[in-house]
């Protein structure tokens, strides 16, 4: 990946991380850990990969994004705001009663949100439906969805996985945000999600494994998925929950907890410092 492009993506992702913390802190609730783990990929998709136009957010030929792990809404909102789908000053209104930013994504409230999600396991099916729509109409738009690794414990995910490969939905990419943590503990402690790669292979998917925080690997994976014909692609993205905020990294309890004022200030100081270095 071009160094200048990568630098810009890193800057955007860092700003998006600040948006996540800003939103969750002001809401006094929400899911920072899983937002921080997938925000690099969402940033990449909106700034370097997907065909989307904030000025025409319902364009029929646009690429679609479905946040199947809907609790990572703060990450999606932060990126959509940076991309210009809505003003950045909406971010601190997250989860408030007069806000257009619901606790989980709602396509009826928020510009740029392609599907309402939040109940785990459902987004990937909707993404399959969108990919099917492109196939039926002969359009070349592509559909991207991100699932949590804990989310794949939902049976519907495997109904959708079986379906997508059976119908040859090669215009669909499902990212598994593999931060290895869910509410009650590690994925392995709670249930048996591993091996994720072998499961998707067995379900007939093209599988790519990457570091979720390396833009080079992200870029290579999504470009390879675009070239791959005949099967949907699963990108198993090994990530760090809470990535970018030191005290949140790989700590389970930051799944669904908002930082207090002191923690908020520390997080913003760390991210500001990182941003300064990136922009230097």
């Amino acid at each position: 990946m071009d160094a200048a492009v990568k630098k810009q993506l890193k800057i955007k992702a860092c700003k998006a991380r600040m948006g996540i913390i800003e939103g969750v802190y002001n809401a006094k609730s929400g899911h920072p850990g899983g937002s921080l783990s997938c925000v690099d990929i969402i940033t990449y998709l909106y700034f370097n990969h997907m065909n989307v136009d904030p000025a025409d957010d319902k364009a029929p030929g646009r690429d679609r994004f479905v946040l199947s792990k809907g609790h990572a809404a703060p990450a999606l909102y932060a990126v959509l705001a940076l991309k210009g789908f809505f003003p950045e000053d909406w971010i601190p209104t997250l989860r408030k009663s007069d806000s257009k930013l619901q606790g989980h994504p709602s396509m009826r409230y928020t510009p740029g949100v392609d599907m309402s999600t939040g109940s785990l396991g459902q987004g990937i099916s909707a993404a399959c439906g969108m990919a099917l729509g492109a196939k039926l109409s002969g359009e070349d738009f592509r559909v991207y969805t991100i699932l949590g690794d804990g989310e794949i414990e939902e049976g519907q995910v495997w109904e959708a996985a079986m379906y997508a490969s059976a119908k040859g939905l090669d215009n669909l990419v499902a990212v598994i945000d593999n931060n290895n943590l869910q509410i009650d503990g590690t994925c392995a402690e709670v249930n048996s999600v591993y091996p994720i790669n072998e499961k998707f292979k067995a379900f007939g998917w093209n599988v790519i494994e990457i570091d979720a925080h390396s833009f080079d690997e992200i870029d290579a994976a999504f470009n390879a998925a675009k070239e791959f014909k005949g099967k949907p692609t699963a990108i198993i993205a090994k990530s760090i929950k809470g990535k970018g905020v030191s005290y949140m990294e790989d700590v389970c309890s930051w799944h669904g907890t908002a930082p207090n004022t002191e923690q908020y200030q520390q997080a913003m100081a760390e991210l500001s410092e990182a941003l300064k270095e990136l922009e230097a």
């Binding site: 099916s125 399959c128 439906g129 109904e159 379906y163």
Partner: protein, 316 residues
């Protein structure tokens, strides 16, 4: 009226989809491995490119229907009522209802008239389940003519619709000139002693009950409530104010369905009056021939007559 012709509403559904598919190329039909039973197989045969079998995975089918509808298609998703409203309830609620997407759920094999398959497949809870989803339209046609009309009306409407069809061949109540207006209850016969609100296959039974009641000197008003949500409370309450008592008749649990909906409307109206509900009496069904089961569970003209007499006795 031609009460000789019998057709299951699921059959009419399949035929209507084929008709609709001919005039609207944005119609796509999904099924979960029940195309032969739900009759969407007719559409599959006519338009194989616009028919998608999602396999035995109703939850995924509802999600696929939701996503597909966002790309400009009018999606009909079919399976048995038990799996459409029951198994996939939360997918219908969150992926279709909440975003108010243009998905039409064609739920067949509703009620105990499923027959021999027994209680596991006899869904008597679907109206109740679907009624609690904000913005969901529920249509429960009485016969093949109404079923066809419901399909066309659903396609015209932008938003989620739940259509309830039966397995059993039932008499055609309406002629081909029948005008269907969704959301509008149809007064089939005016009367002054009791209002009988019926839906689905109980409409024909209500028509039969009216004759029995007439012979007993009771003048019953018969209302066909094909649209259970939004309920035509105005027509029902106006009739109740005139007759002073109401009977509801449905092939559904007496909890949550038409009976509940009518009670809510009557209680909140300006002239509350006795309402007696006829339905599956909060029990599970069982195996048996459909018509026999309907009699066993009291879902017939005699059952309506009994409830009508009770309702009249409750009048002040």
């Amino acid at each position: 009226m031609s009460d000789i012709i019998k057709m299951a509403t699921r059959e009419a559904y399949g035929k209507a989809l084929v008709e609709l598919g001919a005039v609207n190329d944005k119609i796509v039909v999904l099924d979960a491995d029940l195309a032969a039973a739900t009759k969407t197989g007719m559409f599959k045969k006519a338009y194989p490119d616009r028919f998608i079998d999602t396999g035995i995975s109703e939850s995924n089918m509802m999600g696929v229907a939701a996503g597909l509808s966002t790309t400009g298609y009018t999606v009909f998703a079919s399976t048995f009522a038990m799996f459409a409203a029951g198994r996939a309830f939360e997918q219908v609620r969150n992926s279709i209802g909440y975003p108010h997407l243009n998905v039409k759920i064609g739920a067949t094999h509703a009620g105990i008239s499923v027959g021999e398959d027994g209680a596991s497949h006899q869904c008597c809870e679907d109206i109740g389940l679907m009624r609690t989803i904000p913005g969901m339209v529920i249509i429960n046609p009485a016969d093949a003519v109404e079923a066809r009309a419901a399909v066309f009306a659903a396609a015209e409407y932008e938003g989620p619709v739940y259509m309830r069809f039966g397995r059993l061949a039932v008499p055609c109540v309406f002629g081909d000139d029948y005008k269907f207006e969704w959301g509008k209850a149809v007064t089939l016969k005016e009367g002054k002693d009791v209002t009988i609100c019926a839906t689905g296959l109980m409409v024909n039974e209500a028509i039969e009950a009216e004759k029995i009641l007439a012979a007993k000197g009771i003048d019953a008003e018969i209302i066909n409530v094909h649209t259970i949500k939004p309920l035509d409370a105005e027509t029902i309450c106006r009739s109740a104010a005139k007759t002073g008592c109401v009977v509801t008749a449905e092939e559904h649990n007496i909890i949550g369905g038409l009976g509940s909906a009518v009670c809510e409307a009557i209680c909140e109206g300006s002239n509350p009056c006795p309402v007696v509900r006829l339905g599956v009496n909060d029990v599970f069904g069982k195996s048996g021939p459909a018509v026999e089961l309907l009699h066993i569970f009291g879902l017939d003209a005699n059952g309506i007559v009994e409830k009508a007499e009770k309702a009249i006795s409750l009048k002040k």
